[in-house]
């Protein structure tokens, strides 16, 4: 790090007792540093992007002659999520137009990233090289695909067998009245290309009717956004669970039951798979309780939240920023502000998808998740 600078969003505040608050006031980012002698405060104040590490250390030494090793304080602070390198040059892999288009992304990722970076465009670059399939272009899929395109996922493939109907327009954000009767895949691709012409968007009108067809569909892609509810919610999710595990790619799937909106976030080799979570939930239910799959009721807001949660989970799965809640289903209840869903169950022993083999080894290699896991390990103490 050449010219350390405390990130704008994380600028520190000092309380009367010397304690430093850094990272604002949001849970998951904000932290405190006990600093009775003012060492960290002085160091942070010096980190304004105009001085090298050596200069900061020297000034800290002058300001606090009693501190035996100012380099230690400076190095620790420079290694946190709160500091960036003011000297880092934007990468060649993004054009000026892209840096302008994604400038708010850049600031967002800078805020939530738990890993110190150079120029801060690393997350955007990973998105640019990512290839995602969006399966299902209804209420959830429209919003998910729109968000992925807007954020800048480099390659998006949209799949749905249906035609646009008038009753879709209450929530399916990619279609207009002129699209009624047109294949959803075709209309969605056309619309997404107007949202972002710097990415590649393709689509096909296709029904996925078997696990094998899903295997074919996701071959060569980095992640799946599962936004289809046919064949019956459970079947397609089980296929996604197994197909993505076999392909070694992460997936997120979302949906709604009236006002209850949920999203599952899964990655091979990391945490429980979908089937383990759903069997855990089954075991928790009163025996004989029918599974409520809800009715057709959905509005723009519930569909929007659903699709946005799927897209948000995928961003984390693709980049590690923010760290995704792998192996869990989370959700919100739009009619009960105090109801936050967070489904967690351990992998079932012997689960062929995520469990542990008899020899103790895991089923799937986890090459894609290495960095994400490293990020998670850092989470409690950045």
């Amino acid at each position: 790090m050449r010219l350390p600078r405390v990130k704008f969003e994380h600028r520190p505040h000092r309380y009367e007792d010397g304690t430093i608050r850094i990272g604002g006031e949001i849970y998951g980012i904000a932290a405190e540093i006990a600093d009775p002698y003012g060492w960290a405060w002085t160091a942070l104040t010096l980190m304004d992007g105009t001085r090298s590490l050596d200069e900061i250390i020297e000034r800290l030494r002058l300001a606090h002659p009693e501190l035996p090793d100012p380099e230690s304080i400076v190095e620790q602070l420079a290694a946190t999520r709160y500091v960036e390198d003011a000297a880092a040059v934007p990468p060649a892999g993004l054009s000026e137009r892209e840096r302008d288009r994604y400038s708010r992304n850049h600031a967002f990722f800078r805020t939530v990233d738990i890993v110190p970076r150079g120029h801060g465009w690393e997350t955007q670059l990973r998105l640019k090289s990512a290839r995602v399939v969006v399966l299902g272009l209804g209420g959830t899929g429209c919003h998910a695909a729109w968000a992925l395109a807007a954020v800048g996922v480099g390659t998006i493939h949209c799949v749905d067998p249906d035609l646009v109907e008038l009753s879709n327009l209450n929530r399916q954000v990619l279609y207009g009245e002129g699209d009624v009767g047109r294949p959803k895949a075709e209309a969605a691709v056309a619309r997404l290309r107007t949202v972002n012409s710097d990415i590649s968007v393709t689509g096909e009108r296709r029904h996925i009717g078997s696990r094998r067809e899903l295997d074919e569909l996701i071959a060569g892609y980095d992640a799946l956004a599962l936004c289809a509810d046919r064949p019956t919610g459970h079947d397609i999710r089980v296929w996604a669970n197994r197909a993505c595990a076999a392909a070694g790619i992460p997936w997120a799937g979302g949906g709604y039951n009236g006002p209850l909106v949920t999203v599952g976030c899964f990655a091979p080799g990391a945490g429980a798979c979908y089937e383990c979570l759903s069997s855990g939930e089954e075991a928790r239910r009163h025996p004989g309780t029918p599974v409520d799959l809800g009715g057709p009721g959905v509005i723009a807001t519930s569909a929007g939240v659903s699709g946005q949660l799927v897209a948000h989970a995928l961003l984390g799965l693709l980049t590690g920023v923010p760290v995704p809640p792998v192996g869990t289903i989370q959700g919100v209840n739009l009619i009960a502000a105090d109801h936050h869903v967070w489904v967690r169950h351990p992998p079932r022993p012997g689960c062929p998808v995520c469990g542990t083999r008899a020899d103790g080894s895991e089923h799937n290699s986890m090459h894609r998740m290495t960095e994400i896991d490293a990020g998670r390990a850092n989470r409690t103490r950045p």
Partner: protein, 41 residues
């Protein structure tokens, strides 16, 4: 705030630690704001 648990290791004359460390403690949910002060558009 809970500053007592996580004090900066002071340099002791008798036992000089190998390295001066600081503790950066992520705040708990309960310590961060729950008020809505969103900005931006």
């Amino acid at each position: 705030m809970n500053t007592n648990e996580h004090e900066t290791e002071a340099v002791d004359e008798a036992v000089v630690p190998a390295k001066t460390t600081i503790t950066i403690r992520l705040l708990d949910k309960i310590e961060t704001t729950t008020s809505s002060n969103s900005v931006g558009n």
